[in-house]
């Protein structure tokens, strides 16, 4: 390797990429997008099957496709991209070399082999057990083996991230505390370590059970530990996409956090409490006490909800403060109207933030309440909620970050900028609609993971109201719209790599330079105390949010009171 090219400085942003880190970030992001593409094709098939008048696939293919869609999206796409984010937030933002690149490549290889193995198992047709793979339903042993390999690979990635923090500290490449964005990534990696360990604790015995080594696995035990993995992994996503929001606010606006202290404390609340909320998946399970359920899902979990509200407030608040400094001070919302709405880095991030809060956040708190959970348990309301969190929140935030990384990391101009400009709107608003109508259908009782809501030919038929069919038709239509938005993203990213004009504005060096010079690197990587709280527009937005929250919450209690008549 040519030593004088060990570090590359991207001149426009001032970001500095260590060669190994750069390749690893690219490889992880690339394979993330490959699984997003596969998952997206499957999303189309699943949506067209749940659209009652289309009802595309036969039953066995529906469950196969749904299993693959869940895993390819929620696990493989998201986690590959997250590992890329972890390396970016450590080596690149801290301007140091990546710790143990060889081991990082080993982790990457395990993840790739694992993801392929599990996909092969699913597409062979004998592992349509849904991503949750609840025992005693059994999949082919290679299904579990693939997941275990993938998990070990991701765990290695987390430790390489932690190692890189140590390298940066020893080499003194940053001053004082970690930059806020890196701190958010640290939060994500800590949650990831707990998550992956839980996954291993339950999937290894399940693998042994699938090859006949262990006789039985208790279903409740499985569900309890599996959800420490399944739910906590959603919290990796939240910590990661919140960090991406902060990064994008800094990249696009030069925005400084309103108060680093407050934001860091909110991340600490995530570290301590977010994972307890895993218990909301077991609210309807007998065998676990109400004390355990309520302790884990309410009192403590609300600290974590509080933290999300803090981030949801301080990110737009920081943007507002930065914009007002630039002179956009008219009225409550000139700062927002004059934001760069045609820049997909910004528009995607903002659509992600609003949708995550209003659709994902409010519905999540509602359904995480033990009593209210009964209204929507196992209905299609549940995927409605989590498509708002993990698709609008996480996926869209990662997509908008990509538009920044294409020139800075992949050194290509964005191909088809006109398509890129509209992509966050088509994907984001398609998903807003999709999540809303799924929640609507779920409130009417339509089950999730169900091939035929008309229950044709069953012993105990059930007749849904016409409005439920209408809602599911809209699920199909808005799902197709969102898939088109996702396709636009793939077109632009893959097209940019293949046909985008090369960006030749880099300098190379053998040694890193710790001090960021250009604006972007300095704002994401530096420290700012606090930018202050003079953000009346954001404050008003927060009040609107709280009112919507309280109204929706109480409407559901009212609704609960009418579910069973008392006579």
């Amino acid at each position: 390797m040519n030593d004088s090219r060990n570090f590359r400085i991207d001149t426009p942003t001032g970001l500095q990429y260590h060669r190994d880190a750069e390749l690893l970030i690219k490889a992880n992001a690339f394979f993330g997008v490959v699984f997003l593409l596969i998952g997206g094709v499957l999303a189309l098939l699943v949506s067209l099957t749940r659209w009652p008048s289309v009802h595309l696939l036969p039953a066995d293919w529906f469950y196969l496709t749904l299993t693959a869609h869940g895993l390819d999206m929620l696990v493989f796409w998201i986690i590959f991209f997250e590992i890329a984010v972890l390396y970016f937030c450590s080596s690149t933002l801290l301007r140091c070399r990546l710790a143990t690149p060889r081991i990082a490549w080993l982790g990457f290889a395990l993840m790739l082999i694992g993801a392929v193995t599990t996909n092969v198992a699913i597409f062979r047709g004998d592992s349509s057990v849904m991503m949750t793979s609840y025992v005693p339903m059994g999949a082919h042993p290679s299904f579990y083996l693939g997941l275990i390999l993938f998990a070990v690979g991701a765990l290695i990635g987390c430790f390489v991230f932690l190692g890189t923090l140590v390298v940066a500290k020893n080499d003194k490449t940053y001053e004082g505390s970690l930059p806020l964005v890196t701190f958010g990534a640290l939060t994500a990696s800590i949650i990831a370590i707990f998550t992956i360990a839980s996954g291993a604790i339950i999937l290894i015995p399940t693998f042994l059970w699938s090859i006949g080594y262990i006789h039985q696995i208790d279903p409740l035990m499985y569900r309890t530990i599996w959800w420490a993995f399944g739910h906590s992994s959603q919290q990796i996503n939240v910590a990661a996409h919140v960090s991406v929001w902060y990064a994008i606010a800094a990249i696009v606006f030069g925005a400084k956090p309103m108060s680093e202290k407050v934001s860091r404390t909110a991340f600490l609340l995530y570290i301590a409490f977010l994972q307890l909320a895993s218990a909301h998946h077991l609210l309807s399970d007998p065998g676990l006490s109400s004390e355990w359920k309520i302790f884990n899902t309410s009192y403590f979990m609300y600290f974590a909800v509080l933290a999300s509200m803090v981030h949801g407030l301080t990110v737009p608040g920081a943007i507002e403060v930065a914009q007002r400094k630039k002179g956009y001070t008219k009225g409550l919302y000139e700062w927002l109207r004059r934001a760069p709405w045609s820049n997909p880095v910004f528009s995607g991030m903002f659509i992600s933030l609003i949708g995550f809060g209003f659709l994902g956040g409010i519905s999540g708190v509602m359904m995480g309440t033990e009593q209210l959970n009964m209204i929507i348990h196992n209905t299609i309301y549940v995927p409605g909620h989590f498509h708002a969190t993990v698709v609008i929140g996480t996926t869209l935030a990662f997509m908008s970050l990509t538009y920044f990384l294409i020139p800075s990391l992949f050194r290509r101009e964005v191909w088809l900028p006109g398509v890129a400009k509209w992509q966050p709107y088509v994907f984001g608003f398609g998903m807003y609609a999709f999540a809303l109508v799924m929640m609507g259908a779920g409130t009417l009782g339509v089950p999730r993971r169900h091939w035929d809501m008309s229950f044709a030919g069953t012993a105990l038929p059930h007749e849904f109201p016409g409005s439920a069919y209408l809602m599911m038709g809209l699920v199909g239509i808005s799902g197709v719209l969102a898939v088109i938005g996702g396709g636009m993203y793939i077109l632009v990213t893959v097209g940019s790599l293949l046909f985008g004009r090369k960006v030749e504005s880099s300098t190379f060096a053998q040694k890193g330079t710790p001090i960021p010079r250009a604006p972007v690197a300095a704002t994401i990587g530096g420290h700012h105390g606090g930018a202050g709280f003079a953000a009346p527009g954001t404050f008003t937005l927060a009040i609107v949010f709280l009112v919507a929250f309280v109204l929706y919450y109480f409407i559901n209690w009212k609704y609960l009171s009418t579910v069973w008549g008392i006579s």
């Binding site: 932690l162 701190f183 370590i193 839980s198 309890t224 420490a228 307890l276 302790f295």
Partner: protein, 54 residues
């Protein structure tokens, strides 16, 4: 920050909260212990004490 403030700050002890937040491995410890104790250990104890049907 002016030169003066920087030297003042050097003499001040670092606040406890900042010391916690600046220690990734302490945070890792918190992030693993809290859910392990309250969610996993407590949950598993409840499950294993469910009496077996005869």
């Amino acid at each position: 920050m002016s030169q003066n403030e920087t030297t003042d700050a050097d003499d001040e002890p670092i606040p406890v909260m900042q010391q916690i937040l600046d220690n990734p491995f302490l945070l890792l410890f918190i992030g693993i212990t809290v859910p392990t104790v309250f969610y996993i250990v407590w949950g598993v104890m409840e499950i294993v004490t469910i009496p077996v049907a005869k």
